[in-house]
Symmetry: C2
Subunit: 480 residues, 2 copies
């Protein structure tokens, strides 16, 4: 494909994408096919000779689209939202074209510098404490990670390294292996599975902290565990708080937990993967109070802030902590500006070496929406969740299972887990809407998350009519 | 931005990108500015109100472009190539629009299934042994990782987990902490810094294996180290071989090393990040002989196989080894097909949970180039490196520092390291071409990698004229 054909095909692709998103509602939200469907539809080997673009685009409709779960359908309510907006998509085209791999300042100064400034912009929108803002003098600052999982892992590794150094500074003879075997990390029993995984990767013990009736971790619970563990000779070093848990969007009480972590010299990381975007609205910002006690904080603009995946924003209080954990300097990556103090080499802040020019997406979105436009997006989605909550509350057969704070509604039919499992099966099978379940206090619960940017009140009303119709059928079938 | 504006702006962006790539040669390949330049050019906070697209695109030229190191300029010869092609860019637009997060089969079956089949296609192009091909029955298979660093880390973690389980199976009382403190991994002293970093993350000891005069690891050296370590009570468990090292594109002798690893029950991972793409050509495939002894193999189509970043292809012999290391099953990620045996949930294969629909890029590139077109791309770039090598060899002031096998030429002025450092400084400062150095046998060496898809013989000739002109000036300035 030469550049002339790219001009033509690129414009065709823009129209294809616009058509896809404009008419997405007409497609079934969840595919109706069996595992292994795709292999039968395409050849077993790559072609020797080039094929034409038209052929491939025909195959997109024939092979790909029937197997897509349409995350941007207004009838998709599963998991959490995957952000998508036109400005972000356009910025990503530019990112592909520039195609730099911004592992160091020199590898593409604009890629590094725009990222630092965009994380400052975003940090200010969230009213993060000054210690997290890079500015020109800051000791902290922000970075784009691919996912919240990686941000959690980086924070745990930095904390692990800091703890080992601290202990060895007081006791030079103590081996790293011995220290590692005594370190203990904590997170909520409601935390995302990636937090436990980070501890597995980092080869440290992680203990799950029980939550209160709101599914939040409280100070007294963590304090008791820390004291028990210290008494048993373990070394508490890390706590991952969650603001907006995956099952029910619960908020750990960081105003209580932060001071405890600081006192115990434990790194506090805050994972606000989903909920973090809402903190740009003053009415939600109080939920972030206590961030001033944190060592690191992370949320995913690629979930709820209109920036297409991947874009997970992470801030650290002391950049030295995160850089120091893994800094390596082979000659082929050295450059003359790296020791200037003004320069950031983001490869030291992350697991991979390579990285795309992702801050372009933030820049386009922040400017084309403006803060007010982004706030309006959050508020609209929260109000849709509240609308759904009201519908559920008005129906005595159903119950709400957790406070609806943002865009997630946890609900169920009053009755057994089996009954609710049957209801979900009916919903999944009908393919009119798409939901996933969660478990809360041993109960099987349905989760409805407002996901698509194009979801409107009529889709909420439709979803509820559909659910109640299936529930009616189900209850009819039940023996009394 | 509504869909109508997206149609218009999307087409403008396609033209902007086409213009950028068509005229990229006119831009200086490396920016001329000081760290901190960008912050002064843009506001300190995000705007409250939306701004227009035209304004932003003007700022792309004003703010971004002056700070870009143009990796796709035919005058860029630094690091290794970052792949870029029009079909991959178009596929990425489609990937953005679909915007699914394919962590499980159910989250978007097409995303998972196309990936499995594309890794099979690519594995067959490389003539990988059958054990690495998923097919419908295979115990191995492929996955797209973001980067080679992550593939290395995943392989090391899987090997660590396997080693711990194996030892505990024979000695149930032995603690994991004790085993971890005895595990030892190996890699070449020439290996990429990310390999050492993987061991740091995994909290295991890693020893660097000295190389022969070709910068390759040989069996006898590794064997001696393994024996020493076993005698000292350590447990050798992992060797990361490199095919195509970053400094000089050297190839560890895996036909010798593989049988040793198998005999010693050490996991052998092969990192062929750059060179792997060339194995689609029969004349380079012999360099991959020995892969039949490997437990995992990885290379980056996003380096040299025309698929834009990120797309790092990894295969494992036993998918159970990699999945088993970290499998976690929270309810919100369960789906009814997951235990069917036919289904792959790629979230178990990688560090992050989220993942883009990256196999679309492979599908578009493989089909629009065809195997022959991709082979032609590799062969052309190797022939350009050979052309540059001939120019260097014909000039008695210079020497070639490592065998030129693929698209990388390591060369230097005969003389001191300081002399060569001065030459590189002049080259960097002139901004006519862009190179980075490496260190080989304590010598400071210049690396010229054929990077851009648009590099032609005239650019090689120009680069050499430029280098010799600067060398001439430098040698004139030297005291005799």
């Amino acid at each position: 494909m030469d550049v002339a054909e790219f001009r033509r095909r690129g414009k065709e692709m823009v129209d294809y994408v616009a058509d896809y998103l404009e008419k997405i509602e007409e497609r079934p939200v969840y595919p109706d096919l069996e595992p292994g469907y795709l292999r039968q539809l395409i050849p077993t080997e790559a072609p020797l000779e080039p094929e034409g673009f038209d052929e491939i685009m025909q195959d997109v409709e024939r092979v790909i689209m029937p197997g897509v779960t349409h995350w941007h359908s207004p009838r998709f309510f599963a998991y959490f939202p995957a952000a998508s907006s036109f400005p972000a998509m356009l910025a990503d085209v530019l990112c592909s074209a520039i195609g730099c791999i911004g592992f160091s300042w020199a590898a593409s100064p604009a890629c590094t510098e725009l990222e630092t400034v965009m994380l400052d912009w975003l940090g200010k929108m969230l009213q993060l404490p000054d210690c997290f803002i890079a500015g020109t003098q800051g000791r902290g600052g922000g970075v784009i990670q691919s996912t919240a999982s990686e941000a959690t892992l980086m924070s745990l590794l930095a904390a692990r390294c800091k703890a080992v150094r601290l202990i060895q500074a007081g006791d030079a003879d103590r081996s790293e292996a011995d220290i590692l075997s005594k370190l203990v990390a904590y997170t909520s029993e409601q935390a995302h599975s990636s937090v436990e995984r980070a501890a597995l990767i980092g080869a440290v013990l992680m203990r799950k902290v029980p939550t209160d009736h709101c599914y939040a971790v409280r100070q007294e619970t963590l304090k008791r565990m820390v004291e028990e563990d210290k008494a048993a000779g373990l070394i508490p070093f890390y706590f991952c708080a969650t603001l907006g848990t995956t099952p029910s969007c619960a908020f750990d009480r960081i105003t209580e937990l932060g001071p405890l972590c600081n006192k115990e010299n434990m790194w506090m990381h805050i994972d606000a993967a989903y909920a973090g975007s809402a903190f740009i609205c003053p009415e939600f910002r109080p939920l972030l109070n206590g961030v001033e006690f944190a060592d690191s904080f992370n949320f995913n603009p690629h979930k709820w802030l209109l920036v297409n995946f991947d874009c997970s924003a992470m801030w650290v209080r002391e950049r030295a902590d995160i850089i120091g954990a893994f800094k390596m300097e082979p000659l082929y990556l050295k450059h003359e500006n790296q020791e200037s103090g003004l320069v950031t080499d983001y490869r030291h802040w992350q697991i991979p070496l390579g990285r795309r020019f992702r801050s372009l997406k933030m820049w386009f979105v922040f400017r084309m929406y403006g803060l007010k436009g982004m706030q309006a997006h959050i508020r609209k989605q929260v109000s849709l969740a509240k609308e759904f909550e009201s519908l559920v509350r008005a129906d005595k057969r159903f119950e709400i299972c957790a406070e609806v704070v943002m865009g997630l509604v946890c609900f169920r039919l009053k009755g057994s887990n089996e009954l609710n499992q049957s209801l979900l099966k009916k919903i999944t099978k009908s393919r009119e809407i798409h939901l996933v379940p969660c478990q809360l206090s041993s109960r099987f619960v349905l989760r409805l998350a407002i996901c698509s940017r194009s979801t409107e009140s009529r889709h909420i009303q439709h979803a509820w009519r559909h659910i109640t119709q299936l529930a009616f059928e189900l209850l009819q079938e039940q023996p009394h």
